[in-house]
């Protein structure tokens, strides 16, 4: 005999709990908003609307673990994009992007753009250096020059970078 399928969908239960926890934290944050006199805020205080949204999100999140019961395709459809684990390359890419944005403060936007154009293709397996090197220099230079010279955007040079603008 086949075991009866659970009414609660595990991954969505976890998801709902995460959302509810987030809502709880943000609800607490709304309680730290500065108080204003009801007359001044026309009886609609600064925390009223965000709390309404948080309640809405929390109520909707409560439905998530049971959603598979009324969605066409059920669990299979809801799990379509998350059945495969996040690939290590995606995590490595996220980590590299984080580092490169951190680097903007140190080396400035122009050099950071060069670093992106060099390291991201390398991470993704590009080894044709005759293509990669000109790309890593010319493309960022063209983009930063376009924004700096044509669109007059000033790029902060960073601690030891250089600026266009």
């Amino acid at each position: 005999m086949r075991p009866a399928a659970s009414w609660v969908h595990g991954p969505d239960l976890v998801l709902a709990l995460v959302i509810l926890a987030g809502c709880g934290i943000l609800y607490y944050v709304t309680s730290t908003f500065e108080e204003v006199a009801p007359l001044f805020a026309d009886n609609i205080g600064p925390s009223w609307f965000p709390r309404l949204m948080l309640w809405s999100i929390a109520l909707l999140a409560l439905v998530l673990p049971f959603e598979h019961l009324f969605v066409v395709g059920g669990r299979k459809r809801l799990d379509e994009d998350r059945t495969d684990r996040v690939k290590p390359i995606a995590l490595a890419t996220a980590g590299l992007l984080l580092l490169l944005v951190l680097a903007v403060e140190l080396v400035g936007m122009a050099l950071a753009a060069v670093l992106v154009s060099a390291f991201l293709p390398l991470l993704w397996g590009e080894r044709r250096y005759k293509v990669l090197i000109p790309f890593a220099i010319l493309f960022p230079a063209a983009v930063t020059l376009l924004f700096a010279r044509v669109l007059k955007i000033y790029f902060d040079p960073g601690l030891f970078g250089f600026a266009f603008g």
Partner: protein, 501 residues
């Protein structure tokens, strides 16, 4: 008429024509590249357009929107990789046609159907926008609140695979819209002491993050995929026989696309799929569908391009975006100091006609460029993804920074990208979040004003017939899909064990 002529006069200036041409070229290129989408391209172009005058800036984005939808069909037909989601249905019959040596015929039909759909919807846009704006002028805050609720519910119910998740996304977007100083009381909300957040979260970095960064992370796993391509292409305009065969499909799909576009939801993709299904339903050669039926190209292509003009109607007349790309264009209009909505036609009517003229010219331009340059555009898929996506990141980083010359915006873009990636995996749509973020202020203002008018009595919302209508439509939109699925399950015959599925 005077404003219409003025609109054409503005758009036909050489500088604006050049800007529209750039928009069309970028649109077709982006549309042809699998993974790059119209909302992403418009989001990436906003920082660039901020330095332009509002007219060329909006004309460029509108042109990109039209051309991007068509561009997707080129790679859908030639390499079976739809450049954009609205072109998915085009690949069903386009690629089989290309494989049997009829790529040129398929591309020719795609271009003609796209232009017919696009021009048809623009005529509706021209007639419906002023009418809808006049109706909306009568709206009070409570009706506006009901309308925005309806818009969000439509997006939730139509796009993606789960309306609950899309509603959560929309509510999260609205919540993000509350970051910054509260307009009535001047109190800071969710700023966490970060000075850059006092003015609220800017649209541009969030849009770039959600549409470009999250896709970049998703694409990181597929960077080495190579496409099989059809190389021998001689573009052919549809023959008289082809045209006679698809004439009713073109008309039907143009109507469907325009109607779907006008509904505040994810227009083009839904329109294309319905256009395809209806073309099949009314066809005499149903068995040909999926094997290379010419109606299978005309149906979705006319519908997806018709949705672009349709989507601009609620965007401009009500300030409620008709699609994800229209939501990004709405954000661009706001960034240029233009507030779409019923007052737009009173205060700056020339804008509406400039957008109309720009989209019309864009349709004609991509027809010529698409027919003449399809072979060239199909070759852009030869650009290695290992270089394409880093280039997108450089453009995103510089673009996010340029919107307000703030590094905080680059961080916001990156965080939005990470969040978008996680959301995508769990079935939460980016479009509802964007729509929520853009409409957040309007929702809060209209609800707060209504509550003040009603002396905090919720029940008084039900005194307005317009509110009642929108609430009823909201409920219908939200429960229609689960209701139909429940009925289908109940009505489905029980499977006999061992029987073939």
């Amino acid at each position: 008429m005077e404003y219409l002529l003025h609109g054409f006069g503005e758009v036909l200036e050489p500088y604006n024509l050049m800007v529209i041409l750039i928009g069309v070229l970028v649109g077709v290129l982006v549309g042809a590249l699998p993974g790059l989408s119209s909302p992403m391209a418009v989001a990436l172009l906003i920082p660039f357009t901020l330095t332009l005058e509002p007219v060329p800036a909006i004309a460029m984005l509108a042109a990109l929107y039209c051309a991007g939808t068509f561009g997707g069909s080129i790679t859908a037909i030639l390499i079976n990789a739809p450049g954009t989601p609205p072109a998915v249905a085009t690949a069903f019959d386009g690629y089989p046609m290309a494989k049997r040596g009829e790529a040129g015929r398929a591309l020719g039909m795609a271009a003609v159907a796209s232009v017919i759909g696009g021009v048809f919807s623009l005529i509706v846009f021209l007639l419906a926008t002023p009418w809808l704006a006049r109706v909306a002028l009568e709206f009070r805050p409570q009706e506006y609140f009901a309308l925005t609720l309806f818009a969000l519910s439509m997006l939730a119910s139509i796009s993606g695979r789960s309306s609950i998740r899309n509603l959560i996304s929309g509510a999260l977007g609205i919540l993000l819209g509350t970051v910054g100083v509260h307009l009535t009381s001047g109190v800071e909300r969710f700023t966490f002491g970060v000075a850059e957040l006092t003015d609220g979260i800017h649209f541009v970095p969030v849009l770039i993050g959600l549409f470009a960064m999250s896709e970049l992370l998703a694409q990181s796993s597929t960077a080495k995929i190579a496409y099989e391509r059809i190389t021998s292409i001689v573009i052919k305009l549809p023959s008289k026989a082809d045209f006679l065969k698809v004439r009713w499909t073109l008309l039907r799909s143009s109507c469907i696309g325009t109607f779907i576009g006008i509904l505040p939801a994810e227009g083009s993709t839904v329109a294309a799929i319905i256009g395809y299904n209806e073309a099949k339903r009314f066809s005499k050669d149903k068995a040909e569908f999926g094997k290379g039926a010419i109606e299978g190209i005309a149906g979705p292509e006319a519908a997806n391009n018709a949705a672009t003009g349709g989507a601009m109607v609620p965007t401009l007349a009500l300030g409620i975006p008709g699609s994800a790309t229209a939501a990004v264009i709405l954000a661009a209009l706001v960034a240029h100091g233009v507030r779409p909505g019923p007052r737009l036609l009173n205060d700056t009517p020339e804008f509406v006609y400039v957008i109309f003229a720009a989209m019309l010219i864009a349709n004609l331009m991509f027809f010529a460029i698409g027919l003449g340059g399809a072979k060239v555009f199909s070759r852009i898929t030869l650009i290695p993804r290992t270089l394409l996506w880093p280039a997108v990141f450089v453009f995103s980083m510089v673009g996010a920074y340029s919107a307000a010359s703030s590094l905080a915006d680059v961080w916001i873009m990156l965080l939005a990208g990470f969040a978008g990636f996680v959301m995508q995996r769990h079935g939460f749509g980016a479009a509802p979040l964007v729509m929520g973020l853009i409409l957040g202020r309007l929702v809060e203002e209209s609800l707060s004003q209504s509550m003040i008018i009603f002396d905090n009595n919720w029940l008084r919302f039900f005194e307005s017939p317009i509110c009642l209508l929108f609430f009823a439509l909201t409920l219908l939109g939200l429960f229609w899909s689960p209701l139909i699925s429940a009925l289908q399950r109940r009505g489905a015959p029980r499977r006999v064990p061992g029987a073939a599925p």
